[in-house]
Symmetry: C2
């Protein structure tokens, strides 16, 4: 994947700053953390994905225990596709990868929250940055999405 | 419920600022918006609740079509309790009410995102502000939760 230039700093010397490709950072979680997660009758738990820094909620998808373990161990988001009945790693095909920076489970242990660095165009297969790009009551609401307002 | 004082402004006169109680604002959504929402086999859709302004993800709960309509029509969050098999309005007992500021549905129409003004202590029945107060890998991760870092 290409390196992204950020700010050419023209007139301030011959150097330019180049942002490095995000690095996947595994999260070392004890089995006692995993034991707090409750999977539903299908062995799945919903996982909310939020963008690090902006706070924008990007998407929600499902994980089983194996995809949760892969996510923590690789620092990338892995989900379980209920329609295809297979694991998928976000961005592996599209290039729009997610690098996990924090991972949480809720008070009941039945929902996950992944805070990620989102690479590329965004999280949504439509090309939108977030899957939540349509507001009840019309497009004017979109301007105020989440913390990015 | 009590009014909250914010900033006594000592030494700047005899007045102090008092924040008003949040006002519930209905969202007028056409039936075509509602028709884009897909409910699961139990007639439910997961609803993510995010705090307006901070961007903090507070909780996730389930709505059926009736609780979604009540949410939009009243500007308060209504959910369906799967364990009690009844509607509940967040904060009606605890006082920790949620006032909806924006409401979104995702690209597949099978997940909702409600951006709310959270009243009182917070969203979690444990007394924490967010239900996602436990991080995989330990409490040190909590400091960087979402956009509030």
């Amino acid at each position: 994947m290409p390196w992204r230039r950020k700010g050419s700093r023209a007139g301030r010397g011959s150097t330019c700053r180049v942002d490095p490709v995000p690095v996947a950072t595994p999260i070392s979680a004890p089995d006692s953390d995993l034991a707090n997660v409750t999977f539903n009758a299908e062995g799945l738990v919903p996982a909310i994905v939020q963008e690090h820094g902006t706070g924008q909620v990007l998407m929600m998808a499902w994980m089983n225990e194996d995809s949760l373990r892969r996510t923590l161990e690789t620092g990338r988001t892995w989900f379980w596709s209920r329609s295809r009945q297979e694991h998928w790693c976000k961005g592996e095909t599209s290039g729009d990868r997610q690098f996990v920076r924090q991972a949480y489970y809720d008070c009941d242990g039945d929902t996950l929250l992944l805070v990620v660095e989102q690479e590329g165009r965004g999280a949504c297969h439509t090309g939108e940055r977030t899957c939540f790009y349509r507001a009840f009551g019309g497009p004017s609401e979109r301007r105020a999405l989440g913390a990015a307002e």
